[in-house]
Amino acid sequence: MADTLIDFDEVVATYDPALGLEVHVELNTNTKMFCGCPTTFGGEPNTQVCPTCLGLPGAMPVVNAKAVEAAIRIGLALNCDIAEWCRFARKNYFYPDMPKNFQTSQYDEPICFEGYLDVDVEGETFRVEIERAHMEEDTGKSTHIGGATGRIQGADHSLVDYNRAGIPLIEIVTKPILGAGEKAPLVARAYVAQLRDLIVALGVSDARMDQGSIRADVNLSLSPKGSGVLGTRTETKNVNSLRSVERAVRFEMSRHAAVLDAGGSILQETRHFHEADGTTSSGRPKSDAEDYRYFPEPDLVPVAPSREWVEELRGTLPENPTAKRARLQEEWGFSDLEMRDTVGAGALSLVEETVAAGASPQSARKWWLSDLARRANDAGVELAEVGVTPEQVAGVQRLVDAKTINDKLARQVFDGLIAGEGTPEEIVAARGLAVVSDDGALSAAVDKAIETNPDVADKIRDGKVAAAGALIGAVMKEMRGQADAGRVRELILEKLA
């Protein structure tokens, strides 16, 4: 049954949204949280498991020092306090993705708490308060067999691969984000995008949303405008791209408003997000925390990071993202609007890397925000996952600068790069894309264009230089785009002088 929806403008005219985001970051440590199994993505099933992460009787967990270090660095980068003493806890539930029948997590004693992240949304700074960041472990991966296309509903049985079970996760939880109004979907997206940038800068995760190394749960509730009373929330789980974060918030706002407008009440539950049409559907009723029967993990001793260690780690933090954006804007000479578009498109680090690879800031911005952004949008993927690297973009621009190709041919080179046909140079050679600057061939094409367009030629002879465009077009067509348009113009004007 399709949900009734309310037009977004009407929603924000009547209701105040309250957002909450829970982001899980899978760390890129060599080994799991509590055992020495490798964490490599994409291994053969159950080849990265041991008695500890399989929950076999008698196996004892030991905490990965590198994961604690990463947790503290993330906390510091989010302006959090770092606990002087904290413990792990067992979160008890029965589900085959956790072989132990509990997930080792943290409950009332998170390692990081009370922080914030300042987020840029269309040139405005929005402070997102962080409630906590805690350490836990990832779960195994289930494949459902016998139902329709891998869905759990109607499945006959399920197959579980525990390679991912026990990989260190940091869960970062915001406080309720109030007052975002109509910008709530953008704030949610910008928060996740800028959190991802921070995680990349810290180097603690692969930060690939498409591979699930960053996953967002989106909490949303509405309250009647100005009432200040928080409404009942829903939690949309595993929203796995920036675009989806924005869409999930927008959809849930419209859906909640429709239910409330009709006099109904929102069911507190988890929701599934559907990439294909940007909708959510009902999951399970949200369990009360007490149903997880949390208790301190007796197999692990408390973590008490010394203040010296914390300060030492503070010294390893990357440049503050806000300061960094200001510095890059200055260095690149971008206008406020250009900078805002670059950040908004999630292209900041891509442009930075492209510039580092030798391209001019304006050319780097041009490719990422126009041609490549369009391709990413068409394919429904993030810009970073469009299939072209910053080095390749710089390589294409080098060929443009050398006049080997023009902008139009560059687009064909990008086609080739995405198809994996080799380096930009190899693609130009293999596809025969180089611009023809041989005057002999160009001259012949220009002569032909003049001959077939005598009226246009006459106009140009009469001094109407603007008419040259039609002839340039004809020549470019004849040369299948592989001509230097500037040189063609010169030749036309010379011949018709």
């Binding site: 080994t31 053969e44 159950n46 041991c50 020092a65 590198k66 289930s142 499945a155 049985h157």
Partner: protein
Amino acid sequence: MPELSRDEVRHLADLARIDLSDAELDHLAPQLNVILESVASIQGVAGDDVVPTSHPIPMTNVFREDVVRPSLTPEQALSGAPEAEDDKFSVPRILGDEQ
């Protein structure tokens, strides 16, 4: 000390995925209360000077270096599994939702 109600026992059984009949609930709920009472007598011994303890030895920061150790082979990993398929653990149909 408040008694554990029959409904609470039913809820706990639900969480533990144990299917209890009405007769079993009648039988087990009072027994659980006896166990709780027995354990509660410890509270009479522990004074205010005894803090709740989750680990018997007062130690902190037991860490492991981030160095890969050999894993099991899939054959070893699956050797105790009642059912396996494609090197994965096969489990019965899952009712309910992911956590």
